[in-house]
Symmetry: C2
Subunit: 494 residues, 2 copies
Amino acid sequence: MTSLFERVENNAKMPKAAFNEIASELRLRMVQMQQSLRHADFPVIVVFAGVDGAGKSESVQLLNEWMDPRWIVTRAYGKPSEEEAERPEFWRYWRDLPAKGQFGLYLSAWYSDPLIDKVYKRIGQKKLDARLAHISKFEQTLADDGALILKFWMHLNKKEQRKWLRKLENDPHQHWRITAHDWKNWKRYDRFIETAEHIIEQTDCTGAPWRLVDAADPPFRAYTVLTTIEQAVTERIAADKRKRKPRRIRKRSKPLDSSVLTRLDLSQTVSRADYGPRLKEQRARLHSLYRRAKAQDLSVILAFEGWDAAGKGGAIRRLTAALDARDYQVVPIAAPTDEERAHHYLWRFWRRVSRAGRFTIFDRSWYGRLLVEKVEQLIDAATYERSFDEIVEFEDQISEHGILLLKFWLHIDKDEQAARFEKRKATPYKRWKLTDEDWRNREKWDEYERCVDEMVRRTSTENSPWTLVEANDKRHARLKVIETLCERLEERLK
Amino acid sequence: MTSLFERVENNAKMPKAAFNEIASELRLRMVQMQQSLRHADFPVIVVFAGVDGAGKSESVQLLNEWMDPRWIVTRAYGKPSEEEAERPEFWRYWRDLPAKGQFGLYLSAWYSDPLIDKVYKRIGQKKLDARLAHISKFEQTLADDGALILKFWMHLNKKEQRKWLRKLENDPHQHWRITAHDWKNWKRYDRFIETAEHIIEQTDCTGAPWRLVDAADPPFRAYTVLTTIEQAVTERIAADKRKRKPRRIRKRSKPLDSSVLTRLDLSQTVSRADYGPRLKEQRARLHSLYRRAKAQDLSVILAFEGWDAAGKGGAIRRLTAALDARDYQVVPIAAPTDEERAHHYLWRFWRRVSRAGRFTIFDRSWYGRLLVEKVEQLIDAATYERSFDEIVEFEDQISEHGILLLKFWLHIDKDEQAARFEKRKATPYKRWKLTDEDWRNREKWDEYERCVDEMVRRTSTENSPWTLVEANDKRHARLKVIETLCERLEERLK
């Protein structure tokens, strides 16, 4: 028995009658809290972890009974399905996140596997810590976005757990709840607690603190959980109301030093005569690589960014011509839908990550966060700063899962863009592509360029460096994109 | 060679220069059409089927190039994934349907398997026809909801297909596109055409007619496809504008004959003393059945309907207490989200069908269509009529896939409802459950009762009959729900 949990065992008891007496008033407060939450700008994520018999499910049932289940998402997770296993570990958790104004109740969830795997010695300390680091980042990302995260560790000591196991076993109608596996877990109680303590220490942070609950006395346990949730949500709603919107400070434009973009040689061209044969050749090369990738269940994610009219769509179409339509999806990123807006900005990219052996091609991507959202001042400076880490973590999880991630910036200069805009204007069927926004964006060229420079420098990681593509000549750009993809595939498949 | 396709082979040719000449004007029309579509109240579903080499992918690529891919969903399907195979066959097609104002482009899609399976003699005529019947109903359902469905059968004769195969094979950069499998298909050309003709005949209907395209000449083929789509969409938008909203006719209330509901004996009760032990016993019974169901990958879908305050939530909670939280989800049905509203009304139920071995519990369901939507006159009489068939087809697909479907109507009388409303009003923490709408609904009791009666009579099928639950006594109701579920599970698992 370690000190962390000893401190929790305070033998607090609440007679059932006392609980019943305050129940109706507490229940009313819960209901009112939920109603206010519906109009609030954040989701509430509640995680119940801890030992079996400590009332995790009972707490979830109670919350569903006392509040309106229409605005509650309840989730427990078993072994990943085939589709889940084909994506990074956190894909299914991202998919199930509650929208703003709603509750998400989670039974063990992302804490379950690390704990069990460590207790049963399937992983060592180092692997455990690596997984806990992902958990911390995941929770921090959500908390930074405004999510209120409440984590309850439900505690019973070894004797109490045995008492609970025996009681159920002796009940003719409940003994089905106890299996040999439960006793197997119980025998590892000490190791369980030791690991739990480590997990709690490693994942306890301001944005997502742990609350240890002494679960020996069910009424007291229920009271603790309910009042903690009620208070935390109510306080947060009140705090949000008090808080004024952060003042946006318009930064003075700094002179543009030599950015990574200025170093690109935009004069590179490919002649029309060379282009046809080379494209065909590269396409055949890509096709055979893609078949090998598919056979090995290698997934590929491509993110395309670039100036308006830089030729992203054209480059993507030249590339997909080598792929079977069943094996790729192009995801054009425009304004988010209502459902997407009600979640963390990365949610809509997570939900698009495709299955093993497929290509997911983003025509614009999560980098909008560091480009348009920054330039248009849709986010404040702190959010902008934080987004670098969030994106790198997102991409790390993708890479660690074995997915090949490529990022392309298609670069043209300002004159070339002007020429293309004029051409679009003059071509009736292309005019729709040109919007007032394109002209407005053009006026902010220097600002964008600074952002691109920062983006490329701070998000080029070993696993997923940026590829800068000189795109003044479309033929050169298209070939470079396919060739780069082929090279990266060859590296991975050898 | 059969007559149907012979009629198509008209040797029409379009010189490439002629196509290029009209291309820019046609492209402009396509773009304008797509822009108008965005504000229209229907989706466009385009299916390309036919022989290999007839330009199915090329057509899809061209449409994606000429129009804005942000409002186009393109889908091709391979072998079902594990998650897809665990749901009824059409689950994945429902999931991918385009929203209103958007294009969905499908490569073979639901036509692929029936055709191939028949050609390779994996299924006989009878199975083929059963699958075609599902396809027809699927398309009819979408068409009735307003979807514009265009189906192109791309045709090449045997000689032309061989020519195409050889040409690609001899091209050093393209020979990867041709495999032994393609030649295997070609050898079965006649059987292929024969089956195709049958499929076309069986699935050709007003709402989703086939258009046969002679694909021998690529420019002519492209021209045919593009102009057909452009015209059909433009005409449809114009027709919608002309069409006035159908006048809603308020039906006179007919006197209520003895409905199925009046025959229920609402005086049945279970004493408090009996209830506890019986509930425990039934819960243990359900638990052991659920474990067996899970082991056999049997999925269960439960739909709960009933009067306001009839006790649906309570009955559901008593039942889920016997299940592991990982294995069930409760889906409370309230107003649809924006994304849901932009699809067919069944879409949001399709997307919730859960994996093999799980329970999906709908707290209110697709029957809202025949109840609140009818009473509140949100749908017209024709839509109401049609919805019976759509729902029965939906449930048939669920049952045919082997999922156990149960439907409960929780029935209380008007006095009992009044008493419960008053009690809710008097209990602070329950007051939120009671809305003005509940009182308004109550005024329409007779109208609702007529709808319930019709619903129960017309949607009680052999596979999924309604279970009417006398719910004036909550204890009786809860037990009957669990007992019914246990009986149905025992039937299935024996």
